[in-house]
């Protein structure tokens, strides 16, 4: 809790703003807002409560929005988001920096936890997963990351715009199959049964959809 310095975790791939940590010695919260996600997780592993506060403020909106997208219930979404952050606080070592970016890990954990909740509540059969285009109007100018760190918020917003553009290029069938699998928690057989399409068609749509999405994201990275 009293730790004010720059955490130096093993496996943290890039802390490009290490030199900035000493710039705000008087405000421990402001200092941590300059830290990367991986640096915050390392600090949380040492029970740095302020690091947890900063990480929560940075990604509470994204976690809650993902949970709400899967569960379509604000109360359940709040419970799921709370559970995700509680687990993050209690078992930070579950995140292994070498395996990928923190935000990917956080979204995956959130999605899996929400789908588990969905399955546990037996809501799968009763619920029609709405498309992203038919649900609430997207608020692209609203940040998924609602914390005080403008850099993190800008990075998340950039990713949102990029993914949204990639999804717009996907055929409707492929996008629908991906959404039913990822947000609906449905298997390929369940999607085929839900849509009345052959299983092979669903498999093809998912594979092609993932391939195109990956390619689009890679093209964006290469352009950057």
């Amino acid at each position: 809790m009293a730790w004010q310095g720059n955490p130096d975790p093993t496996g943290v791939r890039s802390i490009s703003r290490t030199g900035d940590f000493a710039r705000l010695p008087g405000d421990p919260l402001a200092v941590r807002q300059e830290w990367s996600d991986e640096a915050l997780m390392t600090a949380i592993a040492t029970r740095d409560e302020l690091a947890f506060v900063v990480l929560y403020d940075r990604y509470a909106g994204l976690v809650y929005s993902t949970s709400l997208r899967v569960l379509a219930d604000t109360g359940l979404a709040e419970d799921t988001a709370q559970d995700v952050f509680i687990r993050l606080w209690r078992r930070p070592q579950a995140f292994i920096a070498e395996r990928g970016r923190f935000i990917t890990w956080l979204v995956s954990v959130t999605r899996n936890r929400a789908v588990d909740e969905l399955r546990a509540r037996g809501r799968r059969q009763r619920r029609e997963v709405p498309s992203m285009e038919t649900g609430d109007p997207p608020q692209w100018n609203q940040l998924a990351a609602t914390g005080d760190d403008p850099l993190a918020a800008a990075q998340v917003r950039e990713i949102c715009v990029r993914v949204r553009a990639a999804l717009c290029d996907l055929p409707a069938g492929q996008k629908r199959a991906l959404e039913l699998a990822y947000f609906g928690g449905l298997t390929q057989q369940e999607i085929a049964a839900r849509t009345g399409e052959p299983l092979g068609t669903i498999k093809t749509r998912i594979r092609l959809g993932m391939r195109k999405l990956r390619r689009a994201l890679q093209d964006e990275k290469q352009e950057d």
Binding site: A60, G61, R111, A166, L178, A181, R214
Partner: protein
């Protein structure tokens, strides 16, 4: 499955969560022992996770923040955060108030400076007026002093005229006619010797003006020796009136002579005579 590595398509299906539970469990078991497939799945997970970035964004309720921190036992940082934010807000408000106060102070100060500048201008005008008045007063004072000097001269002349009049009226006075030595000159003069006042007056007109470095000097001869009675000059009209005290010890005198000497007078008579007067007929 545990012995066979994953294809890209299988990794994608696993990452998107579209496999049935049995197939999913087999892949999970394989991933625990295959780092290569784990890396492949992690890349697929990044693609799948990107779907979450495209969902409509909702702001997490404030109550979720409180209950999450409470459940995590991190209530203290919330208080610290509040205190810090309150402190920052207070500092910002204080800075704004200080800025407003400084601005108001500058405006007031500027007004005061303007007023002082105006007062300074008024004072400068008053000082200039006072200086002008002082200059006028000095000029008047100078003129007054000049008038006083003229008045003193006039009074002196009046006193001289009075003494001369008294001498002319006195029975102890003698008046001698003065003759011009040069016949071409038309100078006129009289010499009054007052034994009572022991003074001598010499009055003459039509005197010729002298050049710079010259002066008239009057002498009285006694026992063949000339005693200087003093020097004088004529005014621009050629008039001169001179009075002098009779030198002590000069009891007998035969004549008086006016000569032209160098400026300041000579101890001995050297210049040419201009007037002469016979004093031998004076009563002793």
């Amino acid at each position: 499955m545990t012995g066979r590595c994953l294809s890209q398509e299988e990794a994608d299906e696993f990452a998107i969560g579209s496999l049935d539970p049995l197939a999913e469990a087999e892949i999970a078991a394989h991933l625990r022992s295959c780092q290569a497939c784990l890396g492949l799945v992690n890349l697929s997970l990044q693609v799948a996770a990107a779907l979450s970035f495209a969902v409509p964004s909702h702001r997490a309720p404030a109550s979720l923040r409180r209950r999450t921190f409470l459940a995590a036992g991190v209530a203290r940082p919330r208080m610290i955060t509040r205190v810090l934010r309150a402190a920052r807000s207070a500092a910002a408000v204080a800075a704004a108030l200080i800025a407003v106060a400084a601005l108001a102070g500058m405006i007031i100060l500027r007004g005061q400076v303007h007023d002082l500048s105006q007062e300074n201008t008024d004072l400068s005008v008053q000082v200039n007026e006072a200086l002008s008045q002082k200059i006028e007063i000095l000029a008047l004072t100078s003129r007054l002093n000049e008038e006083e000097r003229r008045s003193a001269d006039l009074m002196q002349a009046a006193r001289g005229d009075r003494d001369l009049l008294l001498a002319l009226l006195s029975p102890e006075s003698d008046v001698a006619e003065v003759f011009a030595v040069e016949e071409s000159a038309y100078s006129l003069g009289r010499l009054v010797w007052d034994r009572g006042q022991k003074k001598v007056w010499f009055v003459a007109s039509r005197l010729r003006p002298l050049s710079d470095g010259e002066t008239y000097q009057i002498w009285a001869s006694s026992g063949g020796k000339y005693h200087s009675l003093g020097t004088f000059n004529a005014d621009s009209s050629g008039f001169a009136r001179y009075e002098a005290m009779v030198p002590q010890g000069l009891e007998s005198y035969e004549s008086a002579v006016v000569t032209i000497e160098r400026a300041g007078g000579s101890p001995e008579r050297t210049g040419a005579s201009v007037f002469v007067a016979d004093l031998s007929r004076f009563r002793r």
